[in-house]
């Protein structure tokens, strides 16, 4: 029914018309575009603008839908969105209410994986320096996996075969599905809370058998990866087959490509360890034997260097003989000395005999008497002789006596000096010669000095 005049409407009425038209026309639509102006306020709703080269449209992702997204929205991301068109009446803006968002050209999970990997990497969760060493000979091993999988069977079989000493503590968890990540995280935390008394394990294996990216997804979830990185107990990740690398693998202290490989990593090979023990045993025996042999040689050498016992005794016998002989000699010498001493004493006693003294004194008296008489005689003779001696000496000393024997004295006639040397006079001088009887005067003809 056409109307002549355009209807007069309030703003609200018009807006309501537009909204119902739009909502009826676009109840559900896929739109392709690039995210921009993304805002994520604390309400949990996310607001964004979808644009292509020519146009743009506002869009809202409510919290309940946002939580279901595996990956994070970000500006510049090319996406395919499913939504319905609506109008936000207070502002008259039309916008898309998003039901689902998928990254364009790449899987949703792949994108989520890449985003979380980049985030956790930037936090340093995958750094080598965080890795803890695995124990060499673990006695208690914790396993976080499904109780009903081939993975557990393989793990237990191989661990037991290689290293039967290890005790296994299993935390059964779902490894896929909604509950998996929560259970795996809780199990890792539970193991870390165990005290040594209540069965603390030294190493943990967290894993499952292989599967699709979806099946393995729990091992890419942020809380699982963080729980692994935070674990005080060293963790070996064992997820899937060789080609699947999960974020859990990157955060773990050691990555095993499969559960079987984890079993081989976590425990030593008992056969080789036994071999090692036997080898130690052989070395032990060998070195002990060689020690004994060396000591035996030393004992033998020392034994050979011991002198003959007969020689030792012979030596002593000889010394005893020697000493005996010396003793004999000494005793003999001593006896001889005593003998001598006795003789000396005997003669001393004899010497001390008073009769001998008396005889000797008598002899002396006789001798003295004789000497007295003789002395007297001698004295008389001596006096007589002494009385005659000065007379003859006087005769001998008188120069006249000398003249009597033919000597003469020459004197200088002038001064009466006695001539003692030829030179006391001169040729032609007159000298007076005094003779025994009379004097003569002579003239010196020639002087002959002494030759």
């Amino acid at each position: 029914m056409p109307e002549l005049f355009p209807p007069l409407l309030t703003v609200s009425e018009l807006t309501r018309h537009i909204r119902s038209n739009l909502e009826q026309q676009f109840p559900s639509v896929w739109v392709e575009g690039e995210i921009s102006n993304l805002r994520c306020p604390s309400s949990g709703h996310q607001y964004l603008t979808l644009k292509d080269q020519a146009s743009q449209i506002r869009a809202v992702l409510f919290r309940s839908q946002a939580q279901r997204l595996k990956f994070a929205l970000q500006d510049g991301l090319e996406v395919l969105v499913l939504g319905r068109l609506t109008v936000y009446e207070p502002r008259g803006d039309y916008q898309l209410l998003l039901e689902a968002v998928e990254p364009k050209g790449i899987g949703e999970l792949q994108l989520a994986f890449m985003q979380l990997k980049a985030k956790l990497e930037s936090e340093g969760l995958f750094q080598e320096s965080r890795k803890q060493p695995l124990p060499a000979f673990p006695e208690r091993i914790g396993v976080v996996t499904s109780p009903i999988g081939a993975a557990l069977h393989d793990l237990l079989t191989i661990m037991h075969r290689r290293w039967p000493l290890a005790q296994i503590l299993l935390a059964p968890v779902a490894v896929q599905g909604e509950a998996a990540a929560g259970q795996i995280t809780a199990a890792i935390q539970m193991f870390n809370q165990l005290s040594p008394q209540s069965g603390k394990v030294e190493v943990l294996i967290v894993g499952r058998g292989g599967g699709s990216l979806e099946d393995l997804w729990a091992f890419n979830e942020e809380k699982v990866v963080r729980a692994i990185a935070a674990s005080q107990i060293p963790i070996i990740s064992a997820v899937g087959h060789e080609t699947d690398v999960t974020l859990a693998d990157l955060a773990a202290d050691c990555r095993a490509p499969t559960p079987s490989a984890a079993a081989e990593l976590v425990v030593p090979d008992g056969t080789r360890v036994k071999e090692q023990v036997r080898h130690h045993r052989i070395r032990l025996e060998r070195s002990f034997k060689s020690l004994v042999a060396a000591l035996t040689v030393r004992v033998q050498q020392s034994h050979q260097r011991l002198p003959e016992p007969r020689l030792i005794i012979g030596h002593f016998v000889q010394r005893v003989d020697d000493l005996e002989r010396q003793l004999y000699q000494k005793v003999k010498q001593w006896c001889r000395n005593i003998q001598l001493l006795l003789l000396q004493h005997q003669s001393a006693i004899w010497e001390a005999n008073p009769l001998l003294t008396i005889h000797r004194e008598q002899d002396r008296l006789v001798e003295l008497n004789r000497q007295l008489v003789q002395g007297m005689k001698n004295s008389v003779i001596l006096r007589r002789h002494q009385a005659q001696l000065p007379i003859s000496q006087m005769h001998q000393l008188s120069p006249l006596g000398v003249l009597g024997r033919g000597y003469s004295i020459l004197k200088d006639l002038r001064n009466g000096k006695v001539l003692k040397k030829a030179t006391d006079t001169m040729v032609g001088a007159e000298v007076q010669g005094v003779l025994s009887e009379g004097e003569i005067v002579c003239r010196v003809e020639k002087i002959l000095p002494q030759k």
Partner: protein, 81 residues
């Protein structure tokens, strides 16, 4: 037997072998550690030979208390792959 930890026993055995090979000990001391070494090597081998498979299961009750109980692989069905 679990009282002697395997790793400790093995490392002690290695020490003994090294010491004995160095040959700087007295005969008495050598004899003593030789005997200790032989005992250790025997018990190490015995530990490995006699070990029994022990698997337990760690579960958490509704009230959050943790329990450890025996677990037998045969009890579970291992057909899922």
């Amino acid at each position: 037997m679990a009282a002697i930890k395997f790793e400790k026993a093995l490392s002690r055995l290695e020490t003994i072998v090294t010491e004995l090979e160095a040959g700087e000990l007295s005969l008495d001391e050598s004899l003593r550690i030789f005997e200790e070494g032989v005992k250790l090597s025997k018990s190490c081998l015995k530990m490995l030979d006699d070990a029994e498979r022990k698997v337990e299961i760690l579960v958490q009750d509704k009230d959050g208390r943790k329990r450890i109980q025996a677990f037998s692989l045969e009890d579970s069905n291992s057909t899922e792959s």
